[in-house]
């Protein structure tokens, strides 16, 4: 790909973009190493792009991402408790892309045409690809939350389940909440992004309230019959650190939200909140459906875990939270690992080599229960015989014995290292 196009793309003029991309996507300009388009520069996509450039420098890599900067979901609950700034979670993409020879297009993807192997951008321009990597994360299924179907209502009830302005909005509401007020959060039925995340959030909101509004309360309405991840560690922390502050109510699915009154109706009770945080039910980012990668009626994408190719659409690979990867959790760490596996598989593909048949994934999820203490769950996953599933490697899974300050330091180091791995 020539420099001229790269410069113009960086200028970001939609009109110029439209004409030039279309013109360049002719066979005349096709690079020798193959063209890969990566949609989404989160934990999966950013890792895949960077490692593909490292392992196959001859491959032309274009990343399409609407945001100018990465904002980490992991550790964003610490913004609520004052343990981290949003700025410390934010990493601009521009220098990263230039440094690794990645073409970055700051735009939204509207559609995918798998027949012609094209990605259609919001500007109307399109990009041709030989292989497409979708790392779209999750979309919220607000249609499943009566009362929050429209955006005006959603704006009144922050989810803060994608880090950034939503995180700041929830923190601002906490600051304005009266002492003696009630923070109500709702948790959807599993699976959702970051299984321990809601319980970490309850802990860190309690940490903030204990310090600033000691008469306030946290009520957790969980659609699940119990804490989904690290149950014993969370229960102990709540009992010892925040006695009588967190009121956990399992098997209590949300039925309706009144966004103006900040009231919720569950299957068994009505509640009014001073601050309301609804974590909506989730499904694969919608571009996966538009690309034809989803089975009818299924929320997550089925892939072959050797190279993450979609079971349904040729030349499309899907990674990260959007995949049906149970028992592996929808975590940033797992998406990072999947990004490397797909990068290696694509590097092999373009070099005409066989792909590696035994990729192994690891996962680590740290959870903070205060600004100073954390614990972790870690596990290793292998690909099943058929390639279409993951399984827990024998004896690989475990959680911390106790919460500790040492693990809080390790958790911060983990974040620094893995951000550097994907975006350094």
């Amino acid at each position: 790909m020539n420099l001229e196009r790269r410069d113009i793309l960086k200028a970001g003029s939609a009109l110029a973009l439209s004409g030039l991309i279309s013109a360049c996507a002719t066979p005349l300009r096709r690079p020798a190493g193959g063209r890969v388009v990566v949609v989404g520069a989160g934990w999966g996509g950013a890792t895949a792009a960077r490692y593909l450039r490292r392992w196959a420098p001859e491959v032309d890599v274009t990343v399409v991402e609407p945001a100018a900067a990465f904002v980490s979901c992991p550790q964003s609950n610490l913004v609520l408790s004052g343990g981290r700034s949003l700025a410390s979670l934010t990493h601009p993409y521009a220098r990263w892309a230039t440094g690794h020879g990645i073409r970055l297009i700051q735009e939204r993807v509207l559609d995918v045409d798998p027949e012609r192997r094209r990605v259609v951008l919001a500007s109307g321009a399109w990009l041709g690809y030989d292989r497409l990597v979708l790392s779209p994360g999750v979309d919220f299924d607000y249609a499943a939350v009566p009362g929050l179907e429209d955006e005006a209502a959603q704006a009144l009830v922050p989810h803060a389940w994608k880090a950034g302005p939503q995180t700041a909005a929830l923190r601002a509401r906490l600051e304005k909440m009266p002492d003696g007020g009630v923070f109500v959060m709702t948790i959807p039925a599993a699976p959702f992004r970051c299984p321990p995340g809601p319980y970490e959030r309850a802990s860190l909101v309690a940490a903030y309230l204990a310090q600033h509004k000691p008469r306030a309360k946290v009520i957790v309405l969980d659609a699940n019959p119990d804490i989904v991840s690290k149950k014993g560690l969370f229960r102990t922390a709540w009992r010892e650190l925040y006695p009588n502050l967190i009121d956990y109510r399992p098997s209590n699915a949300l039925l309706h939200v009144d966004a103006n009154r900040l009231s919720v109706r569950t299957e068994f009770e009505d509640l009014r909140a001073d601050v309301l945080n609804v974590i909506p039910p989730q499904r694969a980012g919608d571009i996966a459906r538009r690309a034809g990668a989803l089975r009818e009626g299924e929320p997550w994408v089925r892939v072959n875990f050797l190279d993450y190719r979609s079971e349904r659409v040729d030349d499309i690979h899907v990674i990260g939270d959007a995949t049906q990867a149970t028992p592996a959790p929808k975590s940033g760490h797992v998406a990072n690992q999947q990004g490397k596996v797909v990068a290696a598989a694509l590097a092999d593909h373009f070099a005409g080599r066989d792909i590696y048949r035994e990729p192994v994934l690891s996962n680590t999820c740290y959870s903070f229960v205060s600004n100073d203490e954390a614990f972790n769950v870690a596990a290793v996953y292998r690909v099943t015989e058929s390639g279409t599933g993951l399984r827990l490697a024998d004896g690989s899974s475990g959680v911390s014995r106790v919460r500790s300050a040492e693990e809080a330091a390790l958790a911060r180091a983990w974040a620094t290292n893995i951000w550097s791995d994907m975006l350094g």
Partner: protein, 254 residues
């Protein structure tokens, strides 16, 4: 809350020449049906069907809805069978006149498999099947977990009635732990689950439900209640395999 991607697989599945053999022909399913409803032919009806999500991640918690409204008489007894679970009979329910479907409940599935619904109405036996997919098995005994401190806590709520029928929900906190076996013969830890739930309104039976270990944790039943009136009381009683039991009373009417 709506769950994305529900499918409906009902009467049509019975007669259709499907790729899978009908679960009704499996010997262990036939034996259960014969013991519950001896010597009755199984008919299909548009009003009898199982609805469930296309796929469920965690087989320990599979939400389903049972439509039990054949034309003619109202059903008085229904049974639910998970053909390939270690203990396939999920539950039977005897239905009082004021208890009306559809019924929503949550079950455990050891693997993707066919589920069978049977409903007796008048002198006839209706059946429906659905194939439900799960990713992770719901019948793993798992770690030794502390049972909830509020075991047996009972919740009930009904909405205002429409056309004489009120949506109602019942939940009893209970881990519903499956048994653990070392090899085929040695029971290393017995099951711990509710065996019986009974409900009546002012002494008139509303529901008698017999539960196996294939009912999900925190047994849940959503149904419609005919004409709840102020002044009436709903009484719930339950007992489990460990000898625990309890009762709870809820005033009706809004």
């Amino acid at each position: 809350m709506r769950i994305g991607g529900w499918m409906l697989s009902g009467a049509a599945a019975l007669g259709a020449p499907a790729a899978r053999a009908s679960p009704l022909d499996q010997p262990r399913v036939r034996a259960i049906i014969e013991s519950l409803f001896p010597a009755r032919p199984i008919e299909s009806s548009d009003g009898v069907a199982i609805e469930g999500p296309e796929i469920t991640d965690d087989g320990a918690h599979v939400p389903i809805r049972l439509r039990v409204a054949p034309s003619g008489s109202a059903p008085r007894r229904i049974a639910l069978i998970a053909a390939e679970n270690p203990h396939p009979l999920v539950a039977t329910m005897d239905l009082g006149e004021r208890l009306v479907g559809p019924f929503s409940l949550r079950l455990k599935l050891a693997r993707s498999q066919s589920v069978v619904l049977l409903a007796v109405a008048g002198q006839r036996l209706y059946g429906a099947t659905a194939f439900l997919k799960v990713v992770a098995s719901g019948c793993n005994p798992g770690q030794e977990a502390t049972p909830p401190t509020d075991i047996g806590a009972t919740r009930f709520r009904h909405d205002p009635p429409h056309d004489g029928l009120a949506d109602a929900r019942l939940l009893i906190r209970h881990p519903m732990r499956v048994e653990q076996r070392d090899g085929a013969d040695t029971l290393s830890r017995p099951a711990d689950h509710i065996t019986q739930i009974e409900a009546d309104i002012e002494g008139l039976p509303l529901l008698a439900m017999a539960c196996g270990q294939s009912v999900a944790a925190d047994p849940y039943l959503a149904f419609q209640l005919r004409a709840p009136r102020i002044g009436e009381t709903l009484a719930i009683r339950w007992r489990d395999t460990q000898g625990r039991s309890g009762d709870a009373h809820f005033p009706l009417g809004i």
